[in-house]
């Protein structure tokens, strides 16, 4: 009766996914493609967070880009400071500060940039800054029982505000160009092929760790409470739980996941810009989770991989059709397969495999928590 972390089936799924990202991709792809996949996988962090927060908890955030961006910016600030050593920036009027500050007549490093000279501080800030931000938004909203659509719209407004702020304060943030031209991490050149391979593996390992944490939450009583809150918030309250705290926790956890993704994005892509903070990327990240299956953590990873891969290859061949395809995907995923690829897999592939193996499908018991939400949306 006791709950294990993964069922046998899920262990196999984890093994396949790990093999895919840790062995198959690196073995079969050139460094360029591998780096691309690494970039896609950073989006998977956000999607995994959304599966917990939205799929399970019914909290749809249209502002995950905020956290992805904040995590990424924290990392970018550290790297930029390292790249802006007085020797490298000798031609500036104020050497030793980032180039964009110099262009904007900033003559001194702003005080809030200073701590980012420390790598340990940066590592902490990558997670803590977005989480504090999420906590503030969450505390204000969930304590006052703002949910569903209102929450989605307000997070969206936050994404818009933050974008305008970053773009407008370009002397301190790099503006619309973002923080670019990042070179080394503690003296280690992150632009070389070797570094990219190592970063890819770090990223993949972190993703698997995040999946494990996500699964731990999912199978705990917390995970069942999330579903309970999504479906009958009042009942949870009258069973003696402080719903707001649970929502805040899961929102902060999703923010932390996104932030890790953002930081890894900065490391692998070499820059960070406000175009990841805004509304459009935030909604795109929701679609990754939706395509993969909003209730499946593994699905989120596949969703991020497949949508981005399709985006890249589609836009290489038919750039003009890409938006049609993307829009169609949104509609299809909502209208015809709300449980995404994971749902399709469960309803079509699994029975087939089971028939082939002549074994009964594992009893419904393990899947009930995840399968077939009677009511997909929150109040």
């Amino acid at each position: 009766m006791n709950i294990t972390l993964y069922s046998r089936r899920e262990w196999i799924a984890l093994a396949i996914l790990s093999a895919l990202i840790l062995i198959v991709f690196p073995a079969t792809m050139d460094i360029f493609r591998l780096n691309l996949v690494g970039k896609y996988l950073t989006y998977a962090f956000v999607a995994v967070g959304l599966v917990l927060c939205w799929g399970h908890g019914g909290i749809l955030s249209l502002g995950q880009g905020i956290f992805f961006g904040l995590g990424g910016y924290c990392m970018a600030m550290f790297l930029k400071l390292e790249a802006s050593s007085p020797e490298n920036t000798a031609i500036q009027s104020t050497p030793g500060i980032p180039d964009f500050m110099d262009w904007n007549q900033v003559t001194e490093l702003p005080f809030w940039w200073v701590p980012f000279k420390s790598f340990p501080f940066t590592l902490v800030a990558v997670v803590v800054v977005p989480v504090i931000f999420a906590w503030i938004i969450g505390a204000a909203m969930f304590k006052r029982r703002v949910g569903g659509v209102y929450f989605a719209i307000i997070t969206q407004a936050f994404a818009a505000i933050l974008t305008i702020l970053i773009v407008g304060q370009q002397g301190y943030t790099g503006g619309v160009n973002g923080i670019t031209d990042l070179r080394t991490l503690l003296g280690w050149d992150i632009r070389t092929d070797g570094a990219k391979v190592i970063l890819y593996f770090v990223n993949a390992a972190l993703l698997i760790a995040v999946l494990l944490v996500g699964q731990m939450v999912r199978v705990s009583k917390f995970g069942r409470l999330l579903i309970a809150m999504r479906d009958k918030e009042d009942r949870v309250r009258f069973s003696g739980y402080d719903v707001a705290n649970f929502k805040m926790f899961i929102f902060c956890l999703a923010a932390a996941f996104s932030a890790i993704g953002g930081a890894m994005f900065t490391l692998q892509v070499g820059f960070m810009s406000p175009s990841f903070v805004g509304i459009v990327p935030s909604i795109e990240m929701v679609i990754f989770a939706a395509v993969g299956g909003r209730l499946s953590l593994f699905g989120a990873v596949y969703g991020a991989l497949i949508v981005n891969w399709a985006k890249t290859s589609f836009s290489e061949t038919f750039p003009e059709l890409w938006l049609f395809a993307m829009g169609g995907l949104f509609i299809a995923v909502v209208m015809t397969f709300p449980n995404g690829l994971a749902g399709l897999f469960r309803s079509h592939v699994e029975p087939l495999v089971a028939r082939l193996l002549r074994k009964p499908v594992v009893a419904a018991r393990e899947t009930t928590t995840a399968a077939e939400p009677a009511k997909l949306a929150a109040e």
């Binding site: 509304i279 459009v280 939706a290 938006l323 949104f330 909502v334």
Partner: protein, 308 residues
């Protein structure tokens, strides 16, 4: 600030700023009214609202092209025809979309959000494929472009007056329709209790479809009117979406009066702040204030306390 200016100048500026605020207010009301009907009355989140507006704008552009080419005599008044056509086109598209998408999703409001976002992407690309990626310039009759000089400094833009008049007209029409007509009663009945409304013989499907169509049609008229003050391009609709939703939510979603009050508050705040600081900061502060107030008062400005 007064130090630099004479009293006359300063009071003129106050008047002008008030007028600028009123124009912004009208713009917000026009943007938000269609959404308030759809979101407030039906609970549907239409992320493609901006694209319905742009459809109206493109219809206006097509009209201006057609009229200049074939019946130049009509040019001075073509705008009225264009607005009517914009209403019809956007409304018809709205009805189609309701039939194809929305009606399957009434129980899943967050999913309407995603589906309509997908729709907005498709519409954007469609506009781009049909009308080209560049913005189109809608030419306006001369009488709509100038301004009345009231004093040396104060000049009243005619298109601003036009937008204001249009706003009043459309708001009135929507109010009469929603609160004084039999159809409006049906809409409200369906909103409050769908099964019961169905049981007493209201064709709920038809009501839904027409309500959605009405909301989209109003968006189309707004888009048509905005060709006077803004740009018409495939992605221009995106510019409006955050503001529009905030106006509606801030007003208290279910209340049309609330929408108008909130449009007034936000527009006055924004235009006043714009006068004292840079546009970017004014925008950030306005949005932050609105979001802050919404956090303290999530139900918005105007809502009935409901017995649950």
């Amino acid at each position: 600030m007064i130090g630099d200016y004479t009293l006359v100048e300063f009071s003129s500026i106050l008047a002008m700023q008030g007028f600028a605020g009123l124009i912004l207010f009208s713009v917000f009301v026009l943007m938000a009214l269609g959404l308030a009907v759809i979101f407030g009355q039906m609970g549907v989140i239409n992320m493609a609202h901006g694209e319905f507006m742009i459809l109206g704008a493109y219809v206006t552009w097509l009209c201006s092209q057609f009229v200049t080419a074939y019946v130049p005599a009509l040019f001075p008044i073509y705008f009225f025809i264009a607005m009517a056509l914009a209403f019809v086109a956007s409304g018809a598209l709205g009805i189609l979309v309701e039939w194809a998408l929305i009606r399957h999703l009434y129980k899943r409001p967050l999913d309407t959000l995603l589906a309509t976002w997908g729709l907005s992407l498709i519409l954007q690309q469609l506009y781009r494929s049909v009308f080209g990626a560049r913005e189109v310039g809608v030419s306006l009759p001369d009488w709509m472009m100038g301004s009345f000089p009231l004093t040396d400094i104060i000049e009243v833009p005619i298109n601003g007056l036009f937008v204001m008049a249009l706003t009043i007209l459309i708001s009135l029409a929507v109010f009469l329709l929603m609160f004084r007509s039999r159809w409006g009663k049906q809409v409200r009945a369906v909103v409050q209790n769908r099964p019961m409304a169905g049981a007493v013989g209201i064709n709920t499907k038809k009501v839904d479809r027409l309500t959605f169509g009405l909301g989209c049609g109003v968006a189309g008229v707004a888009g048509s009117a905005f060709t006077m003050i803004g740009s018409t391009g495939p992605t221009a609709g995106q510019l409006y979406i955050v503001d529009t939703f905030l106006v509606v939510v801030f007003g208290g979603a279910a209340s049309l009066i609330g929408t108008i009050a909130s449009a007034f508050t936000i527009s006055q705040a924004q235009s006043t702040m714009e006068f004292f600081m840079s546009g970017s900061m004014a925008k950030v502060l306005t949005l932050l204030t609105v979001v802050g107030i919404l956090m303290l008062r999530p139900e918005g400005l105007f809502t009935l306390k409901m017995r649950r």
